[in-house]
C-alpha cells in the first residue's frame, strides 16, 4: 500500500514537527507538499485556452489579462490599461492607455495593435466565438499613438467597460494562425501571472508562475488543475491528499467539516434557477396565474431540502444582497394569498381538483434538462407547490435538443447568471426584442415598462438614473413575473488551509456567475496567494 504508507509517514512526520515546534516550512499536514504548489480538482476543463474563442472572457484566466479586471467585490480595476477608460460625453468613445513595460510570456512587448487584433478577431464572423454578441455594441477599435486604444460604439452602452476584462492575445503569435483550430488553442501565450506548462486534455492542466509578470511573480509557483468529472471521485482524491482543493456539491462538502486542515468556502452567486412562463400559452401567459405561482412557491424549503442549504431564495435575477437589488421586492410564501388572486380572477375548482376558467384547465408542462438532479428536484417541488393552489404542472425531462423547440410553448427550468453588470443578464432575459432569439428570452416576455427600463439603463451612464431604471424593472417584474424565480445557488469549495491573501486571514471568493469552477472559487486570485506562516 504505497499510498497509504506514504500518507501515514507524512502525517507522522507532520505530527512530530508540530510537537517539536520548529522545522520551518513543514507547517502543513497534507502530504507534506510545499505551499508553493497547489493541486485543485475541478469538474470540467475549458474547450480551448484561446480567448479568441471565449476562454477567460469574464476574467481570472490566469494566463492572460484584460484591459481591466475585477476585484473581490467585482469593482473594475485597471490591468493592462494604466487606468479606467476615458469616456466621451456621448458615451460612444472609450479611450484606454496601456500600462508601460508589459510583455507577453515570450518576451515581446504588449502593443495597442495586440488589443485591436484581439477585438477584431473576436468580432470576425468567421471566428467561432460563441460569445461574440457580448461585444455587439463595438463598431470600431483602433490604435492611437504608441500606447492608446480607442473603442467606438455603435450605440451608447453604459456597461461597456465591464466587457473589457476580455483577455488580450499577442498578434505576433495568434495572428499567424487560424483562430478556430490553430496551435494557440492549446499552447497559448499571454501576459498573465501564469504560463501553461502542460495540458493533457481530460486529465489536467499545469501552470507555472510567470517570473516576468508585470504585477510581480506569484508566490504559488506550480498550479495543477485536475479534471475530475465525478463528484465522489473528486471527494475521495481530496481526502487522500492527492488534491489540495476541490469544488464539491453541498452533501459531499459537508463530509469535510471536521477536517482540521481543510476549510470550506461558500461563494454566493448570480447563478439562479427559474421557471420560464411562456407568454404564448393561455395559462402561463395569464398575469394572475403568474402572480399566484410566484406566491405559492416555498423558496426557503427548496433551499433547505433541494440545495442542502447551499443557496438563497431568488425573487428576481439579481441576488437579494446585490447592490442593484430593489429592496422591497421580496415576496413571502403565501399560498392563501395565491388562492385569493386566482379566486378573484374567476378560476374555479374543477372535478379533478384543478382550477378551470372559461373551460380551460390551469395546467401546463414544465421541462427540465435530463440528468440535472438539482433542476429535477426543483421542478418536482415547484409542481408540488403549484398543486396546492390548484394548478397542475406536468414535469417532463428531455435533452436540450428536445427542449429547445418547445421553449416558446412549454415552461422550462432554466438557469442563468451573469457577472459584471445587470444589463448583461437582464437584457437578453427580458427585453421583448430578444424574444425567442436562441436561448434569449425563452418565454417571449413582453412588458413595455421593462423594455423601457432596460433601454434607459443602457443609455445613461449616470449611476442614480441607472439605479432608478433597474428598480422600476424589478418592481414591474414582481407585478408580472414572466419567470418564477426560485433560488440562487451557492458554490462550495473545500481547500487545504495553507494559503492566505495579503492583508487578510484567509482566502476570498467573488460573487460567481452561472459558469464556474475553473476561473471562480477561492482560487480566482491565485496570483495573490501567500503561503501561511
Amino acid at each position: 500500500m504505497p499510498r497509504a504508507i506514504r500518507q501515514t509517514v507524512a502525517l507522522t512526520a507532520a505530527a512530530l514537527t508540530a510537537t517539536a515546534c520548529s522545522a520551518p516550512g513543514a507547517d502543513d499536514t497534507r502530504g507534506a507538499a510545499p505551499a508553493d504548489s497547489v493541486v485543485l480538482g475541478v469538474a470540467t476543463e475549458p474547450d480551448t485556452l484561446s480567448p479568441l474563442l471565449g476562454y477567460g472572457k469574464d476574467g481570472n484566466s490566469k494566463l492572460f489579462d484584460g484591459l481591466l479586471t475585477r476585484d473581490a467585490d467585482l469593482n473594475l480595476e485597471p490591468a493592462l490599461a494604466e487606468d479606467l477608460p476615458e469616456v466621451s460625453k456621448d458615451g460612444l468613445t472609450y479611450t484606454f492607455t496601456l500600462r508601460d513595460g508589459v510583455t507577453f510570456s515570450d518576451g515581446e512587448p504588449l502593443t495597442p495593435a495586440d488589443v485591436v487584433f484581439t477585438y477584431e478577431t473576436v468580432l470576425d464572423e468567421k471566428t467561432n466565438n460563441p460569445n461574440r454578441s457580448e461585444l455587439a455594441a463595438v463598431e470600431r477599435v483602433r490604435a492611437e499613438g504608441s500606447d492608446q486604444v480607442v473603442f467606438t460604439l455603435a450605440y451608447p452602452f453604459a456597461p461597456f467597460a465591464a466587457r473589457t476584462v476580455l483577455p488580450i492575445v499577442p498578434q505576433h503569435v495568434a495572428g499567424e494562425q487560424d483562430p478556430n483550430t490553430g496551435a494557440f488553442n492549446t499552447s497559448p501565450v499571454g501576459t498573465g501571472p501564469y504560463v501553461l506548462a502542460d495540458w493533457r486534455k481530460g486529465e489536467k492542466l499545469v501552470f507555472k508562475a510567470n517570473p516576468h509578470y508585470w504585477g510581480g511573480e506569484p508566490a504559488v509557483k506550480n498550479v495543477t488543475m485536475a479534471i475530475v468529472p465525478d463528484d465522489d471521485v473528486r471527494a475521495t482524491r481530496l481526502r487522500s491528499g492527492d488534491l489540495d482543493g476541490a469544488i464539491l456539491p453541498p452533501n459531499l462538502a459537508a463530509t469535510f467539516e471536521d477536517e482540521a486542515d481543510l476549510t470550506t468556502y461558500r461563494a454566493t452567486s448570480y447563478d439562479y434557477r427559474a421557471v420560464s412562463l411562456p407568454t404564448g400559452d393561455p395559462v402561463t401567459g395569464d398575469v394572475d396565474v403568474r402572480r399566484a405561482l410566484d406566491l405559492a412557491v416555498d423558496r426557503d424549503t427548496m433551499v433547505e431540502k433541494v440545495l442542502d442549504g447551499a443557496g438563497r431564495p431568488a425573487y428576481g435575477p439579481l441576488p437579494v444582497d446585490d447592490d442593484w437589488f430593489a429592496k422591497g421586492t421580496e415576496r413571502a410564501h403565501d399560498p392563501a394569498a395565491a388562492r385569493r388572486i386566482l379566486d378573484r380572477a374567476g378560476w374555479e375548482k374543477g372535478a379533478d381538483g384543478v382550477l378551470t376558467k372559461d373551460g380551460r384547465r390551469a395546467a401546463f408542462t414544465l421541462y427540465y434538462p435530463a440528468g440535472d438532479k438539482v433542476r429535477q428536484d426543483l421542478a418536482l417541488a415547484y409542481a408540488g407547490d403549484a398543486k396546492k393552489i390548484g394548478v397542475e404542472v406536468k414535469v417532463e425531462s428531455g435533452t436540450w435538443d428536445v427542449i429547445e423547440p418547445r421553449m416558446a410553448k412549454d415552461a422550462v427550468l432554466a438557469g442563468f447568471g451573469d457577472v459584471g453588470d445587470p444589463d448583461f443578464g437582464l437584457y437578453p432575459l427580458l427585453h421583448s426584442s430578444e424574444a425567442g432569439d436562441g436561448f434569449n428570452n425563452m418565454p417571449h416576455y413582453d412588458n413595455p415598462a421593462v423594455d423601457k427600463a432596460l433601454d434607459d439603463a443602457r443609455r445613461t451612464r449616470d449611476a442614480a438614473e441607472r439605479r432608478a431604471a433597474y428598480d422600476t424593472l424589478q418592481q414591474e417584474l414582481a407585478e408580472n413575473p414572466g419567470y418564477t424565480f426560485l433560488t440562487h445557488l451557492d458554490h462550495l469549495y473545500v481547500l487545504a488551509d495553507r494559503w492566505k491573501t495579503a492583508g487578510s486571514d484567509g482566502l476570498t471568493t467573488q460573487v460567481e456567475p452561472h459558469e464556474h469552477g475553473f476561473a471562480a472559487g477561492p482560487w480566482w486570485n491565485l496570483e495573490d496567494w501567500q503561503p501561511r506562516r
Binding site: 507538499a33 478556430n180 483550430t181 506548462a197 436540450w400 432569439d437
Partner: protein, 347 residues
C-alpha cells in the same frame, strides 16, 4: 516474423532441415487483403458520415458547450454555418476523402486542433494500454488454459472455467468501476485514474506504471476468459490426438508432451482468436479509458461522436478499421506459418 519462424522451427523439434518461409504466399495474401481493405475503408467512412449526419446530437451545442445555452440565434446560426452544418454528408465525405488522400486529415472542431495532433498525442497511451492488456491476457490465458486442460473436470478446471464464463458475461465498465471502488476507494492502494499523480508535472516511468495497473488489469481480465476457454479446449482436444498419444508412447515426459505437442497444436485456434479479439479490445479500451480518465483515444472518440465532429470521427474510425484489418491479417499469417496444413492461397 523471423522470431516467430525460428520459434516454430525449434518447437517443431525437427532439427533436420529449416523450413523455408513461404514469403511469396504471405506477400500475395497481404496484397489481396489490402485490395479488399480499400473498398471496406471507403464504405466504413462513408457509413460514419451518414450516421453522424443522422445523429440527434446538435453539432453547434457540441462545439460551444454551455455557451450555446445562453447564445442568441444569430450566434447559433453563424456557428452552424462556420462548422459546415447542413451540407449533405456525401459532399462532406468526398471533401474529407480527397483531403485525406493528400495527407491532410483536417482539423477537429470540438478539440480545436488538427486531427493528426489529436491522434499523435493520444494514440501512444491507448497503444500502451492495449498492448499491456493484450500481452497479459494472452500470457495468463494460455497459462490458466493449459493448467485447466491438464485435468479436465478437476477442481482447478472447474474453478477456472466457471470464473471465465462469469467474467465473459461481465460488462467491462462494470468491472472497471468495481476495481476503482475496491482498489482505489476501499483499499487505497492504487490510483483511481489519470496517467500520473495530479501533482507531478512530468511523466515518469514509475508513476505511469502505477497508474497503468488498474486500467490494463481490468482490460486484460475482460479479454482473459476467451483465451482461457480457447486454450483449454484446444489443449484438451490435442491431448486426445495421435501425435500426443505417439509422444506418450515414446515415453516422453508429461511436461514435454503438454508443452511441445499438445499446446503447440492447441494454440492454433488461439491465433485466430487474437485477430478477432482486436475489435473487442478496442471497444473495451474505450470504456476502460473513460472510467479511468486515461488520456487516450477514447475521450476524443466520445467527444467527436457527441459533437458530430466529422473530421475527427472519420479519422478515428478509419484508424480503428485499419487496426482490425491488420489484426486479422497478422492472425492469418501466423496461422499459416504455424500450421503447415494451411495454404496461404486458400485464405
Amino acid at each position: 516474423m523471423s522470431a516467430a519462424a525460428s520459434t516454430a522451427a525449434v518447437d517443431a523439434g525437427a532439427a533436420t532441415a529449416r523450413r523455408r518461409l513461404p514469403w511469396g504466399g504471405m506477400a500475395r495474401l497481404t496484397v489481396r487483403r489490402i485490395l479488399t481493405g480499400v473498398p471496406l475503408l471507403l464504405t466504413v467512412t462513408l457509413g460514419v458520415f451518414a450516421l453522424a449526419a443522422a445523429s440527434p446530437f446538435d453539432p453547434v451545442r457540441g462545439y460551444a458547450g454551455d455557451a450555446a445555452l445562453t447564445a442568441d440565434q444569430e450566434t447559433l446560426d453563424r456557428l452552424a454555418a462556420n462548422l459546415g452544418v447542413g451540407e449533405p454528408f456525401a459532399v462532406r465525405w468526398w471533401d474529407w476523402l480527397t483531403a485525406a488522400l493528400r495527407g491532410d486529415l483536417g482539423d477537429s472542431t470540438v478539440l480545436r486542433q488538427p486531427v493528426l495532433e489529436v491522434i499523435a498525442e493520444r494514440a501512444v497511451w491507448s497503444a500502451l494500454l492495449c498492448a499491456v492488456a493484450f500481452a497479459v491476457a494472452v500470457a495468463v490465458g494460455t497459462l490458466l488454459g493449459v493448467l485447466a486442460a491438464r485435468r479436465p473436470g478437476g477442481l482447478l478446471d472447474r474453478t477456472v472455467t466457471g470464473t471465465a464464463y462469469t467474467l465473459s458475461a461481465a460488462p467491462v465498465f462494470w468491472l472497471a468501476l468495481l476495481a476503482v471502488w475496491f482498489f482505489a476507494l476501499r483499499l487505497d492502494v492504487l490510483p483511481a485514474g489519470g496517467l500520473t499523480d495530479s501533482g507531478s508535472s512530468y511523466v515518469s516511468f514509475g508513476d505511469v506504471a502505477e497508474h497503468l495497473v488498474l486500467p490494463a488489469g481490468v482490460l486484460a481480465v475482460s479479454q482473459l476468459p476467451w483465451f482461457v476457454l480457447y486454450v483449454r479446449q484446444g489443449v484438451v482436444d490435442a491431448l486426445a490426438e495421435d501425435p500426443v498419444r505417439g509422444a506418450r508412447a515414446r515415453g516422453l515426459a508429461e511436461r514435454t508432451v503438454l508443452v511441445r505437442h499438445a499446446l503447440r497444436s492447441g494454440l492454433l485456434p488461439v491465433l485466430t482468436l487474437i485477430g478477432s479479439r482486436v475489435p473487442e479490445l478496442i471497444t473495451g479500451a474505450l470504456l476502460v479509458e473513460t472510467v479511468f480518465s486515461w488520456p487516450g483515444i477514447a475521450d476524443a472518440t466520445v467527444r467527436a461522436a457527441t459533437a458530430v465532429d466529422f473530421q475527427l470521427l472519420a479519422a478515428l474510425t478509419a484508424f480503428a478499421t485499419v487496426a482490425v484489418l491488420l489484426g486479422n491479417l497478422l492472425a492469418d499469417l501466423l496461422y499459416g506459418l504455424f500450421d503447415p496444413r494451411v495454404d496461404f492461397r486458400d485464405m
